[in-house]
């Protein structure tokens, strides 16, 4: 495992790999979204209680899962950055934050749209909804803070510490529906005694979850390449100025 991390620690090697594999991940993402949409809109049955509105689940749940997964990956990258000073860990965390924030926003808004016909209200201050809203603010804080520092290294270190502190929110989101009496339903897929959701609804849900995962991988690769090119551009700009001064 450590060999893989050492292999990817070289930014130009990572950039070459990202350039090579990015078109494939984008292609897989499109295929998964096409299949996911087909299954979730046409193939899956309406719910016996909620009717057609259950179809919102196929965008809401994958977005919520990915919002948490992206933050988990940022937390792991922050540990790599603080403990092992991995040269790409900060970049991966920085590139993940806008994607994670977008997934959280989608989960919040689609949840709200689903809440109106199901609960009769757009929003309630229940534990699950509030903890996800806090996650959204943590993402925004991460994005804002990283752009404040002029010294990139110092900024990355501060943001990594903030990310680790924010990770406390992840188990709160996951177990909020068990710890408190909430309007939000408890877990029906990821739980100890197995999923309680019907297979006809499980298939589109999983396809959409993989589509969201490939969306994250694709645009993470694009964003990391963007950050690497930006660093290189900055370095060359400084070298140019130095050269002009010497001439």
């Amino acid at each position: 495992m450590s060999d893989v991390f050492n292999f990817l620690a070289n930014p130009s090697r990572f950039k070459r790999l990202a350039e090579k594999y990015c078109p494939y991940t984008v292609f897989i993402m499109f295929i998964l979204f096409l299949f996911g949409l087909w299954f979730s809109i046409y193939e899956s049955p309406p719910d016996y209680q909620q009717g057609e509105t259950v179809r919102i689940m196929y965008v809401h749940v994958p977005a919520a899962w990915m919002a948490m997964m992206v933050y988990l990956s940022m937390t792991i990258m922050s540990v790599f950055s603080l403990v092992w000073r991995h040269p790409l860990a900060d970049l991966i965390a920085k590139s993940s934050a806008p994607i994670g924030a977008t997934f959280t926003l989608i989960a919040l808004v689609t949840g709200s749209i689903w809440g109106k016909p199901t609960w009769g209200t757009w929003w309630v201050w229940d534990a699950r909804l509030t903890s996800v809203l806090i996650l959204f603010f943590i993402y925004l804080g991460h994005i804002a803070l990283i752009n404040v520092f002029e010294d990139e290294e110092k900024g990355a270190k501060t943001v990594a510490i903030l990310t680790l502190i924010g990770a406390v929110n992840l188990p709160i989101i996951k177990f909020s529906v068990d710890w408190w009496n909430t309007l939000h339903q408890p877990a029906s897929v990821i739980k100890i005694d197995g999923p309680s959701i019907h297979i006809d609804m499980m298939i589109p849900l999983l396809i959409m979850a993989f589509a969201f995962l490939f969306y994250y991988i694709s645009f993470l690769l694009v964003n990391v390449q963007f950050e690497l090119n930006k660093r290189k551009l900055k370095k060359q700009y400084i070298q140019n100025i130095m050269r002009e001064k010497n001439e």
Partner: protein, 48 residues
């Protein structure tokens, strides 16, 4: 369109518009920096 389908349509529309906007923003930012970088590399090669 029934009331229920209206909610479903709104949720899907919002999701895909946001995903598309973020994707386009990332892709065009990447393209613009890559363009600037190759332009700068060309200038350096000319001088050398």
């Amino acid at each position: 369109m029934s009331n229920q389908l209206m909610y479903v349509f709104s949720a899907y529309l919002f999701t895909f518009i946001i995903l598309l906007l973020l994707g386009l923003k990332s892709f065009f930012s990447y393209l613009s920096v890559r363009k600037k970088l190759s332009k700068m590399e060309k200038n350096i090669n000319k001088r050398l």
